[in-house]
Amino acid sequence: MNNALVSAHELVYAQQGRALIQRIHLDIHAGEIVSLIGPNGAGKTTLIKLLLGLLSPAEGRIDRRADLRVGYMPQRFHVDPNLPLQVSRFMQLTSRDSAAIDHALRRTGALPLMSHPLQGLSGGEFQRVLLARALLRKPNLLVLDEPAQGVDIKGQAAFYRLIAELRDELHCGVLLVSHDLHLVMASSDRVICLNQHICCEGTPDAVSTNPAYLELFGEPALEGLGVYTHHHDHHHNLHGDTVPDAHSHHAGCNHS
């Protein structure tokens, strides 16, 4: 018996005869950041819901350590505009301890948003509030589904740094989901590449050169992921300044 926070063995889940999760083995230990990457429909959120106990596996087994406390941050969601809900009230749904709420919001930089309505928050602000609510549970495992969704590119790096800091402070395990390996490379200890089954796993560097990863995320596959990959319309010169691509110019322009 290992000392993992959560272990999945031979996990299988199917919906309407379609296998969404096929024979997955997975261990998450305290103090490590495990990133789950894969294309749309790869079963990332399904796997998370199985680990959280929100779905029951068709086969296989999930072992949870006795002292497991999960802080769950779901994918960015929409709160009905007819529900008047300030950030503070949203936090109180998890805990009534106002000192703990203050502390969690301060830690994620969301304390000034305390009395803002949830619906008026920007993408980045909303994610910080969601992360703070997950922290309120005093977790030893953080499960973060697309934590940087709706956060601008510059903010994304900061957000992943924050997650790494929290891991160090709480010595918790972190399981996070992302569409894009490059975003999570710097802050992951281990990457699991998922497409119903585990295609490959290992350190970020090892995964990025793995043939199974390249097959899933290589150029042909990227075309299908247009929403989540940004095609650069410019290059950087040696000074770091942006230089537009030739094809992004108006056809009628003459640059000679």
């Binding site: 106990g53 929100l54 999960v70 779901p74 009905d80 007819n82 529900l83 008047p84 809900l85 309505p117």
Partner: protein, 260 residues
Amino acid sequence: MNHWLLDAWIAGMALAMACGPLGAFVVWRRMAYFGDTLAHSALLGISLGLLLDIHPALAITVAGLALAIALVGLQHRQTVATDTLLGILAHTSLAAGLVILSFFDNQRVDLMAYLFGDLLALGRADVYLIAGGAGVVLVTVASLWRPLLAMTVHEDLARAEGVPTTGLKLALMALIALVVALAMKMVGILLITALLVIPAATARGFSRSPEQMALLASVTGCLAVSGGLAASLPLDTPAGPTIVTTAGLLYLLSLVKRPR
């Protein structure tokens, strides 16, 4: 004020107070059409109650619960979209109720009273039933408030934090079924959802917290009941529709006078 009017007013106020917080959840969870479906099924409940000689309020509640369970079962099979499913259940149960009622002679069954309410038929026993039932609804919603709210904001997050969402959803459906049963004599089954939805929608523009909205919805409902009853006497109009019209006018007024 005569005794009959006082009785009607007390029953209406109790109903409006219970409808406030419950109606807020109906609005937040987009259950208005579900409420309508439950109300339509009430006629089937009444007719079966007449057949089996069961108290109508009990028959309506049981029919509503049966419908809610049937809905959850059919939703799991996911053959058609939920609103289509609701349309099927609402109108099938209403039609089946009408068919069964047609077997009774007209002396025993006053269809208009079921559909649009009949305050004149409101007896002292009904007032006790409505006040007691409204009290049960209020106490239940208040005691389940926080988990209900957590589930409404995000169901999976609530479940991950240990909120028993399946039971809560059933409880919410049962409460709506109970309100439908209680409100039937007051406003009639075709107008019941209005008591849930309109005051809550009116309260939205003036509320900064869910609790404020629930409370204001109760207050608005009480205003609508009082205004509607007061107007129905001199105008000689049916009380239920007059109450709902008043609620609608209050909503329109709230749009004009919105603070934010």
